[in-house]
């Protein structure tokens, strides 16, 4: 890593106040115990449902009869 890169990194949090780790505990616990497991589960469920729906046929021809009627 060059010195330029290091200065870019420090720029992001430069002038900011530190955050009390205790204030983050609730959030971290919720992410670890609830949110991330839920995300993993729903992403897998979507994958399975998408795989099932991939083969379903889409074909809708309702205009056909109305068009023919309008020509007659």
């Amino acid at each position: 890593m060059s010195k330029d890169d290091e200065s870019t990194i420090s720029e992001v949090t430069k002038g900011l106040t530190p955050v009390d780790p205790k204030a983050l505990e609730d959030f971290e616990r919720e992410m670890n115990e609830q949110v991330i497991p839920e995300i993993k589960a729903v992403v897998e469920e979507r994958r399975v449902r998408a795989a099932e729906s991939r083969q379903l046929q889409l074909k809708y021809l309702t205009t056909h009869s109305s068009v023919l009627r309008s020509l007659s």
């Binding site: 106040t17 993993k40 991939r54 083969q55 046929q57 889409l58 074909k59 809708y60 056909h64 020509l71």
Partner: protein, 489 residues
């Protein structure tokens, strides 16, 4: 070759039958236009012998091979308001303010196929009766008699029936929008779409047998996009998260290929309308989808921007958003963090409320969408007076990835006036398993800024807080950038 028809009422559209030969289906076209256009359209110019690239692609590959003789040329109809006049001898328009484009509402190509004759069409949502409030549009150039015109709209056409069906048409609409809107995508013609759907040349009438979702995915993949296929889960009755992300992608400016398997139908979803803001008696966190009244779809059975209700109408015979059970969003590369993850992360951010000052969870409406880091900076620059200069400086220098998810938090009162209390900026390239996939979370009083240039550091070490100066407003302006507000005429 050119005929000008002034319209005093919708009934005057019946004159199309006199001026356009039957193979272009003028009777049905006139009825479709009379049913779907507003009275702001005061004149139609008929342009004959028009060479339409989309029709020609099907003519060369299908119609010219048939025993019945089909013409090679099309008719194009152009729509104008009442301030324009046309000199048929000089073939010139007279426009009081010399801004012809401002009085032009778009065009419709008619194919000489006898049935399903409405070809490539781009109409302004402003003249579509009942069009939704917000529509995804692109600028479409039109060359007519030496004039260069422009119309903002979304492409549509009838399905051909014999060589393409609704699903091909929905793919074509989305991809034609992409080629007009983003210069990284090339243009694909109607016949290209039928070819792209299969691994081999389907030939003849095979495309009319219909498409599967996998074929539509293949079309979008072949076009250079990165399609994401989302299907509704059946383990819950309604799967609200499915609809929340559907609306999030629309909000992001991505038109959707939407499937209704019970109907065997596919449409492109291109816009929405919010319901009139309400004050709820029972508090509870809501999402932008809960405020959607209707969706705008491009359905090959209707003129574009057909409005369908979010919930089934008690007496309606048509379909509603609840009939949509799968959709494909053709994303650019580098959107790795899925909408499902944003949907679950957003409410968890209230756990940081004590640091940032979010509104009470039970009184909040959440809206999320994708944008680019550049668009976010442009928006903030445009609304500079709303931001603490220190926060603005941080937003300008945070090394965002190209795409970011934005989550906006608004109270009911703020929602009603287009404001938000707080905003989170999530890295669209984040991993599913990240505890803190954010670049920024800020309200009117505080901000948390995250250093995503460090991997694996503990949470508090990679972030910092910022106390914000009071800029004297009651909420930040909601970030509405991707859809065009319809100005009904």
């Amino acid at each position: 070759m050119y005929t000008w028809i002034p319209l005093h009422s919708a009934a005057d559209l019946g004159q199309l039958e006199k001026h356009v030969s039957p193979e272009y289906g003028p009777k049905r076209v006139a009825k479709t236009l009379a049913d779907g256009l507003s009275s702001a359209v005061k004149a139609v110019l008929i342009e004959r012998n028009y060479i339409d690239k989309d029709y020609r692609s099907t003519y060369y590959n299908f119609y010219s091979k048939k025993g019945q003789h089909y013409r090679a040329d099309c008719v194009r109809l152009h729509f104008f308001d009442g301030t324009i006049t046309f000199d048929e001898k000089a073939l010139a328009f007279a426009c009081p303010d010399n801004r012809l484009t401002d009085h032009y509402f778009g065009y419709m190509v008619l194919r000489p196929t006898g049935i399903a004759t409405i070809g490539r069409t781009v109409l302004s949502p402003d003249i579509r009766s009942g069009a939704s409030r917000f529509i995804i549009t692109a600028n479409h150039k039109v060359h007519l008699l030496g004039y260069k015109l422009m119309v903002q709209g979304f492409p549509s056409m009838d399905q051909h029936i014999d060589i393409s069906v609704c699903a091909h048409t929905a793919c074509w609409s989305v991809l034609r929008h992409y080629s007009e809107r983003y210069n990284v995508y090339r243009e694909f013609l109607t016949h290209d779409i039928t070819m792209m759907a299969q691994e081999f040349d389907p030939g003849g009438l095979v495309p009319s047998k219909g498409l599967q979702m996998s074929h539509a995915e293949r079309v979008f993949q072949q076009a250079g996009t990165f399609p994401v296929h989302i299907a509704r889960v059946t383990s819950t009755a309604t799967d609200p998260a499915f609809y929340r992300q559907l609306s999030a992608y629309i909000e992001s400016g991505f038109p959707l290929f939407a499937a209704m398997h019970k109907r065997g139908h596919a449409v492109a979803v291109v816009g929405y309308q919010w319901r009139v803001p309400i004050t709820t008696a029972v508090p509870g966190m809501r999402y932008a989808w809960d405020e959607v009244e209707s969706l705008a779809v491009v359905d090959d059975n209707y003129l574009p921007y057909f409005s369908i209700p979010a919930k089934p109408a008690p007496t309606g015979t048509g379909y509603s958003a609840e009939d949509i059970d799968a959709f494909i969003v053709a994303l650019p590369e580098k959107v790795f963090y899925p909408a499902d993850a944003v949907d679950r992360l957003a409410p968890a951010l209230f756990k940081l409320g004590s640091i940032v000052g979010l509104p009470p969870k039970e009184e909040t409406i959440i809206r999320y969408f994708i944008t680019t880091g550049s668009a976010l900076r442009r928006f903030v620059r445009d609304k500079a007076s709303e931001f603490d200069p220190m926060l603005m400086s941080k937003i300008m220098t945070i090394p965002f990835a190209q795409f970011v998810w934005i989550v906006e938090f608004a109270t009911e009162k703020q929602w009603a006036v287009g404001q938000v209390e707080a905003r989170a900026v999530i890295d669209a390239t984040a991993s599913l398993l990240e505890i803190m996939p954010l670049w920024l979370l800020h309200s009117r009083t505080d901000a948390l800024i995250f250093d995503r240039q460090r991997v694996g550091s503990d949470l508090s070490a990679g972030m910092g807080g910022l106390k914000l100066a009071n800029t004297g407003h009651s909420g930040f302006t909601r970030m509405d950038q991707n859809l065009r507000p319809t100005q009904t005429k």
